[in-house]
Amino acid sequence: MQRQSTGYLFVLPALMLLAMLIAYPVAYTALLSVTDNQGEYVGLENFRRILAARATPIAFWNTLWWVFGSIVFQVVLGVLTAILLNQNFRGRALVRSVTLVPWVVPGIVAATTWAWMLHTEFGIINYMLTAPGLIDEPVGWLTNGRTVMPVMIAINVWKMFPFVAIMVLAGLQSIPNDLYEAARIDGASFWEEVWYVMLPQVRMVIVAVTLLLVIWALNHITIIYAITRGGPANRTLITPIQIFRTAFEGVQFNQAAALSVMFFGVAIVVVFVYIKTLASSGDQP
């Protein structure tokens, strides 16, 4: 008994810090969501207003596309890169470091650079495509309703796949050589090694990394906001940007808080379901 309370005493400073940095903002956001800007209780009025906004359902579907598209390609590309970087070839160290570049570049720098590269008139991408005659007219990558979201996802994939690659690579390197040798004695081909040795061994790494990617994609702002600000006509508006817009551009902190609370709920459910289905089944290999 005595010992336990001493323990609490020791963790108290850390708990207080956590409470200030996490619990207080969460509680305050919840409070903001049910009050008006004078601090009066208004019930669910803020929720009703923000749900009635035309942009809200658009942002919701965009967010789904954005998260799903980003994750699938980030994981697939990242795992393939990791398998490649795990092979023995000349210049491997160099390739490994170069792969990291997109991840190391600050998000805002990458976003602004891409925005310029993709510009219809000045962009190098259109220049490279039109100069050799591959296409006749420059493509409005960021102004065409059909291309703008895929382009955003592509930039996000480019930005984050190195992270997946490095994490999975670390997992691959911890696989004991015996497993490969055993597989080879049994006559496994390279792809069978990948499928039956590598992937099962790094499964937990992939699960954890994917969870991180989902969370990051869910509360992402930088790339999209810096390039399109959610436009054109809300084609790339995702919920975090809508929250940011409502709060800091529209000065409707209470509605933004209401949207945050709902978004928080959705995110918790997504993460919970994900952990339940994927992470726990990994316990019985």
Partner: protein, 401 residues
């Protein structure tokens, strides 16, 4: 959640940096383009008022509204902030700034629209010191090449369209509109056309939606048709005012709307262009219009030394100070006499000032203008025609009033 953490964090940082305020010290946030001129004024003021020290903190315009708002909300704001006229009303309604009626002298010397901008609940919440409007900047060389007279620029909408059609040759665009970037870019360029036609986004009293009235739709059609008829660049949907200036400098655009601040950078970056300026063309039989833009000084409610701040603002509001501090034109009529405003290239911009109108003051103006802007983008994307897009915007705005 995220926003709250950000707010808290910036509050903490602001508290740390503001913790060193002493009695008699006034902290003034001014944008970087004001830095040199502000320094001169601070020195002049301190020489006359030895009891007050002014600490200048330079801000950047990018992201400034968010930064100012966070500082005001957190309660750890500086004593004086430079803000755009349009932001002041929102601050006043949320009790984030102090009324400044006692500071204002010579009320009749101010351009009325400028004071109207920063008035709410019949009190004055900011002291305007800088005003400006747009005009149309054009390339005189392109006019001559297209067989148009650069000394007789278009005056009406029809003439503007006809000129833009003639100028749109060899990959050049006659008249560049904006359809991207921050919402304000497109509001500043399209709302005046709606006013000229007798429409608007909302009524001045903020009670009626005008965005889908026949007059407004006519103006929106006029504006967006420049893109639909390929008189504005293919990149219109990603272009803001800065992008249009760059295209003008690259000689890809012959006419575009902007303020006088664009002229020096055009001359610096492409001296070959012979720059002309014309008033914004209007429909046959009606007057031109423009949005009055510019900057005001406000005192946050949480200022440490509001009295000293007011003394300093009173000094900055003097006619002589205004003539120095503004980057464009001063808000006081008497300050306009200063030598620096006599450049002939400024004549048209000066002529436009009396036609400048404030944007409607509404607590949800930012969301209203966003709803309108989304509608404009739907037209430019080809999703909807002008009437349908504006009906959609009207429904959205209706729920915000």
């Amino acid at each position: 959640m995220r926003m709250k953490t950000t707010a808290l964090l910036s509050a903490a940082i602001a508290a740390l940096s503001a913790g060193t305020a002493f009695a008699g010290e006034v902290t003034w946030w001014t944008p970087n383009f004001n830095e040199a001129r502000a320094k001169t004024l601070v020195e002049k003021f301190q020489a006359a008022n030895p009891g007050i020290t002014v600490k200048l903190e330079v801000t950047t315009t990018d992201g400034l509204p968010q930064r100012v708002l966070t500082a005001l909300q957190s309660g750890a704001a500086p004593d004086i902030v430079d803000v755009q006229h349009g932001w002041v009303n929102g601050y006043a309604q949320n009790k984030l700034v102090l009324p400044l009626d006692e500071v204002l002298k010579d009320r009749e010397d101010y351009i009325p629209a400028a004071l109207e901008y920063v008035t709410w609940d019949s009190k004055l919440w900011g002291i305007p010191y800088r005003i400006e409007t747009h005009a149309v900047i054009f390339n005189k060389g392109d006019f001559t090449a297209a067989g148009l007279d650069p000394n007789k620029p278009p005056q009406t909408w029809d003439e503007l369209v006809a000129a833009a059609e003639k100028l749109s040759t060899d990959g050049k665009s006659g008249f560049a509109i904006t359809g991207g970037g921050e919402v304000g870019n497109t509001i500043f360029r399209s709302l005046p056309f709606m006013w000229m036609a007798g429409g608007g986004i909302i009524s001045d009293d903020g009670k009626k939606v005008l965005v889908n009235s026949p007059e407004s739709v006519k103006a929106v059609t006029f504006y967006t048709d420049f893109f639909k008829n390929k008189l504005s660049p293919a990149s219109t949907l990603e272009n803001d005012g800065t992008a249009n200036r760059r295209l003008f400098i690259a000689e890809k655009v012959s006419m575009y709307q902007s303020g006088q601040f664009d002229v020096p950078s055009i001359k610096k970056e492409n001296a070959k262009i012979d720059v002309g300026v014309m008033p914004i063309p209007h429909p046959e039989g009606s007057k031109t219009a423009a949005i009055l833009g510019g900057w005001s000084l406000v005192v946050p409610s949480s200022a440490k030394n509001p009295e000293e701040a007011k003394t300093f603002i009173a000094f900055l509001a003097e006619s002589d100070s205004q003539a120095v501090l503004t980057d464009t034109f001063p808000a006081r009529i008497s300050a306009m006499k200063a030598e620096r405003f006599n450049d002939p290239i400024l004549d048209v911009f000066k002529q436009m000032l009396p036609y400048g109108r404030p944007v409607p003051a509404h607590p949800r103006w930012v969301q209203i203008s966003q709803a309108y802007f989304d509608g404009i983008q739907r037209i430019l994307l080809g999703d909807e025609d002008a009437q349908k897009a504006m009906d959609g915007a009207a429904a959205e705005i209706e729920s915000l009033l």
